[in-house]
Symmetry: C2
Subunit: 376 residues, 2 copies
């Protein structure tokens, strides 16, 4: 345990890096995948089970938590870690993205955003200053700047204006965050799919200076090819000695591609959400457990997987409990998916350390291509 | 592990007994509470968590399992134990009670019952012979006779006719069960609230001869006073050297009262179902976690409880996740309730062994009366 937030790169392979983020609440092995604990719980999982999958850090959603049960209430109860029984690092998003995608009656000004809660219709306000305050009340270890981002494809003028607003908000976020030893503040690069805007955003963020840098504004509808085309150059615009975080990504092949392009951290609801809808990710592609073909199948989801779902249950059982609407279906499939994601990250870290990332990525593609992939 | 099914009484206190049922799949400490794994899962729990609460045996429902995924399918997959990942004893009910309460378009004859599935409308048949076959296919350790029982209050003539039909079915069940070393067949006493009918039923069952005897036809609407008035004499009509099982009971105070009247085994969906609806059973009465009074309460559900929900979470957290519709709410409250029930059973067993059951029961009543009971 260290008192300060720090990052070191232990090995590189091409643009990919493996290393360690240290925080007072524990270390984060990179590249890292962060399960999403939206409203104070990684859905259908106990936190000790999330940890057992290999997760070093969780993501919490400022937007959801500020609305219910409220940041002030969580602070009175001892902070988010204690509230949700997770004593390792937590990264919180700023609320900006989810206000834009979930809230009602949004009004965006230079100052910030006012909106109505999708839960109960109550009025709320977010700004760089309020987002920093909420994330401080939650006790977040890694705090994200308050930003705004348009869905893609979007008009380049709209993307540029939005990016510049986010950069002004990044400056205000930094000022409001202040000096909090052991806690980190990450800036968020915007600029859509336009290299000049990405470069301008990166330059501005570096001038302000952050503990880490996120690539924002991707995974918002642009598709993998467009996302990779940005990731081909965007991480290189950011300081090499700070962690680079790709927000809201992604599918397993997105993750492999992002890591190969120099990304250190990612988060996504996909493994947990897919689990609740009967989708499992395996080495051999996806399994849709709802499919009748699994009804009599005594095999586990993935014969090479050591998670509790694969060790102890047949596809036939998982099919049955999913069809019967049993909670254990969500519990087991979510556990499997999170385990699969964390094993993928461990494989990537080991491959980078050994200088065999290309071979790892080729084997990853080949194994999936040979598998019993079922379209979702 | 023994190859045979056996029961021994280790100590008595008044009419109450504590002892051990031995089966090839493991021992069952009595008095025992059996969590209900309706459709191949104790809802919202992993089987290893059910075991961690102290459960020695689960109950499975023939009616649910025969309809989905079907007894033949479970048999092909290696039996119910393997299917649901529970290697300890399983008791299955006969399907009779649930056909009467859940199925559509029932037609009852001397031979058996035809009905339509409440799941998909398909036609099915149950009889003593078919129920024995299904329970054999499931691999049940303790098999229940196929019976029929009216809801109470009911006309005495109807109760008598139903009881005599169940006794004829008990004879057919015994014949169809055959000789299955290591597996037990329990008869079910009927007769409503009429002592003469209970005596006639007990006599008939003893003539047939069973490995254990259930008191059936209670907890079907008659209320605790009427149930206890039957339990004041009914267990004494059954052989003292065989386990006595009270089906479908009950609330914690029902359980204490039943054990004091000589009952050895019970089952009920209450702890798991209550967990999913936000009700927790504690030493100090019930907690309705939905209640707004818990919104800021940093205390656990029960300060004297060592279950994972009480060790690591506040009432405020449980209130939050319940209100937010999070699966973890059902997981934690179910775990707590099953833990509470198993601790109650352990307390009863120890009190009987020490000859202080009356004091235990008085303390149980007093603690609940002094607690923050919230009506459901």
């Amino acid at each position: 345990m260290t008192a300060a937030f720090s990052f070191r790169v232990d090995a590189t392979d091409g643009k990919a890096r493996t290393g360690l983020i240290s925080t007072p609440r524990g270390d984060i092995r990179t590249p890292a995948f962060m399960p999403v604990g939206t409203a104070g719980t990684v859905k259908a999982m106990l936190p000790e089970s999330v940890r057992a999958t290999g997760a070093d850090i969780l993501l919490g959603n400022t937007y959801h938590l500020m609305l219910r049960p409220s940041a002030e209430r969580i602070a009175r109860l001892g902070g988010l870690h204690r509230f949700m029984n997770w004593d390792r690092p937590i990264l919180t998003d700023s609320g900006g993205f989810q206000v834009m995608s979930l809230a009602d009656l949004r009004k965006l000004t230079e100052e910030g955003v006012t909106f109505r809660s999708h839960v109960d219709g109550s009025r709320h306000h977010l700004s760089p200053e309020r987002s920093m305050e909420i994330q401080r009340l939650l006790g977040s270890d890694i705090v994200m700047c308050f930003d705004e981002c348009p869905a893609l494809p979007a008009d380049e003028k709209r993307v540029a204006e939005s990016m510049r607003l986010s950069m002004r908000w990044a400056e205000r976020s930094k000022a409001a965050f202040g000096d909090r030893p052991g806690h980190a503040l990450f800036g968020i690069m915007q600029g859509g799919v336009t290299p000049e805007l990405r470069a301008e955003s990166a330059q501005k963020l570096k001038e302000i200076g952050f503990d880490g840098y996120a690539v924002g504004g991707l995974a918002v509808g642009e598709g993998q090819a467009a996302m990779f085309s940005v990731l081909d150059y965007a991480p290189g615009l950011l300081p090499a000695d700070r962690p680079r975080y790709l927000m809201g990504v992604g599918k397993p092949d997105d993750i492999v591609g992002a890591v190969m392009r120099g990304i250190d951290m990612m988060d996504c609801v996909l493994p947990s959400r897919s689990g609740r809808t009967g989708q499992a990710w395996t080495r051999r592609g996806q399994v849709n457990i709802k499919n009748a073909r699994h009804m009599d199948d005594p095999r586990p989801l993935d014969e090479d997987c050591t998670c509790p779902a694969c060790r102890s249950y047949s596809r036939a059982y998982l099919h049955h409990v999913f069809r019967a609407g049993e909670i254990i279906a969500s519990m087991l499939l979510t556990w499997h998916n999170l385990h699969y994601y964390q094993e993928l990250m461990q494989g990537l870290r080991e491959a980078i350390a050994a200088g065999r990332l290309d071979a790892f990525a080729r084997a990853f593609d080949a194994q999936r291509a040979a598998g019993d992939i079922e379209p979702i």
